[in-house]
Amino acid sequence: MKYIVLTIVSMFLVQLSIGQTLSGKVVDKKTKETIPFASVFITGVEIGTITDSIGNFEFQFSLPKEVTLRVSASLFEAKLVTIQSNQVVTIELEPSHLELDEVILIMPTGVMQRDNTVRVDRLKLNDLSTIPASNLADAMSNLNGVQQASMGAGISKPVIRGMQGVRVLTAWNGMRIENQQWGADHGMAISQLGIESVEVIKGPSSLLYGADAFGGVVYLAEEKFSKQNAYSVELNSKFETANLGTTNTAMIKFSKNHMRFNLGALYSNNADYKMSNGKFLSDSRYRDMGMKARFGVNKDNWVMQVNYMYSRSYIGIPGHTHDSIPNPEDFMKTEQGRERSIPAQSINNHMVQMENKFFLGSDKIQFMLGYTQNSLLEYEDKVTIPGLGMLLRNGLYHAQYQKDIGSWNVSAGLQGMYQVNSNDESALEQLIPNFNQFDNGLYVIANYRSKSNFSIQFGGRYDVRVLNSGGFTESYSSPNFSIGGKYFWGETLKNTLRFNVSSGFRAPHVSELLVDGVHHGALRYEVGNPNLKSERATQFDVNYELEMEHLSVVLNPFYNYIQNFTQIVAQDSLIDMMPVYFYEQIDQAQLYGVDVGFHYHPHFAHWLHIESSYALIYGESLSGENMSLMPQPKLSNLIRLQFKKKQKFNLDEVVIKHAHYFAQDRITAYESASVAYDVIDAGLKFKWYMKNPIEINLGVKNALNAQYVNHLSRLKNIGVYDMGRNFYVSLIYQFNGKLSK
């Protein structure tokens, strides 16, 4: 027996130790001319390079036997190529003047967006630099069907097709983030520092990410490492007038032979913001500090990455009051404050993740271990004694095996999380009790891609959650599935049709089951319901895309059927001068709507982009009662003008954005309707073309100083407004160089 085990281990180790090198060139498929400065990136190994002036590239260290390259260049269609290493390859790219396609990371198999059976919306944060977003949730609101629920400028979270909080799962490099997101006044636990892109699946995705991936999944992908044997440094500084806010970030990257390292830091300090009436919203000030470190190493068929993130925030809680009928004037000040004050949240987050990948021919094995820790202290009446204090710790694991069999790719995995929440004993109050819960899920996903025009994906998963809190013990379990297909046809008119049916499962959270007390941050007294059942959802999603020579169009209707939908409902009573809310369930509910968009980018005016999108959603019980906090329908328009470099100090880009929010009068009792409003932003991007260029962005958000409050704002009911006119300027300085081998 000993000799059999030894033999198997030896074969495994031999597979791991067989390393390969790779070189080649990238050419235009039509003209066969070489393409200089094309990007060649090895997915999974996470190392890339740029072709030289005659289109050649080389990876100078040993690689797995089989690798997948993502090859892209401006004015060409990006391509994924799986090849055997240890050879010289020629990769041909098809000319295209539309936007680059990208590898989708949220799916277990790295596929290009156009080949994916599930519609994934993707955003590169660098693309927003001309009109920079205030935070990640604000950045994501640029995606159709995604809005943000905010409480002032420092607290914001994404809302995907009407779902937020515990119904939206956020994953950082595939690892789930937990930060008491059940609280209406608890924002995202992560800043934009070091984040390259955001991918969003709209609708239930429990097959991929388990329980709580109910309304959608947000996947945050870290910035890539520097290209091989090179370093880069980026410094970014931004100033905004509405809250006299400064945000400074620095990111340094090294990549040398087998090892790579990224290190970044952020500091942001923001005063109370100015509303359109000229007054300042008290306690809307906040400050953030954070750092990130990322390390990667590869040897032959093994790749390891370690990611670490630390963040610390002190965030004012605006709108805090004990009055049952608050006076908006109490929250509007004539002087702008920045110093630490109360009420406020003090939040510390640590996240660490280690991922190992083993490439065995066309097979891949991945192991991920992670730990996250979120400390939340809320100071209400005392400066040094928290009113509320909780420490949330999570241990996470994920093991996955992937295999390619001809046109099939099969993934199977085991994923889980152990979570413990502890109340701070020095805190004056306790809102939810101490608890621990253990989640485990087992899944299988199969993808088929034909050589012609269609692909299908289907899979199944089983999740179990065991929850313990004092004398309350309960387990929740559910199978989940997903099935989808994609069909592509046409040459001049390129048509893509996707159809997906997916299920979601969400066990009730402790905050819904056992809460009993004043939640100052949410301005209400909350009462839980220990008899809540798990929510279950089944979404039907159809996505049609038409790509013509100058125009692309997307049409995406959807229907989501939900059982046991939990909502918090206002009662006609007060406790401790706070309105009372109970957790209740609707037996059967439905969310349905449509996302539509188009992008016009003509050949004859290659510098012009016109984009427009519209998102509409209805949420109601099957008996016709409205669901609360449904987003206002939104029409977004964008004009982008891009100019070639003509002088040393050049105007590179002009962007004008317009968002029209339609009125929302599909509301519940004790919820107020919201009026329509418009917001216009405009920005200019200049570039000073020195040896190391400096990018200067300046512009204005809410240029017309519109007086509005979004329907999803937690401050709506106290009569204060979102931010008024806000001028900004940002500087981005980047330099890089080579490192000796």
């Binding site: 620095a250 340094i252 830091a265 500090m289 004050s341 005392k382 400066v383 040094t384 004694i385």
Partner: protein, 70 residues
Amino acid sequence: MKKKMFVITMALVAMATVSCKKDECSECHYENDQNEEVELGEYCGDDLEAIEASGYNYNGVNYEVHCHEH
């Protein structure tokens, strides 16, 4: 180049770790039996923590202390 990288790395580390928590100070007060605010002056650090936790004793009566404007 090495010197530049070293300086930048140190600046990053400094930016990330500079959190010198200087003693927090606040103006404190209590409400007397006539519901009038009585100012107690500025308290810092451990003294601030102590007075918030234990209150202020005046003529044998212990009053809850509030520090910082709400």
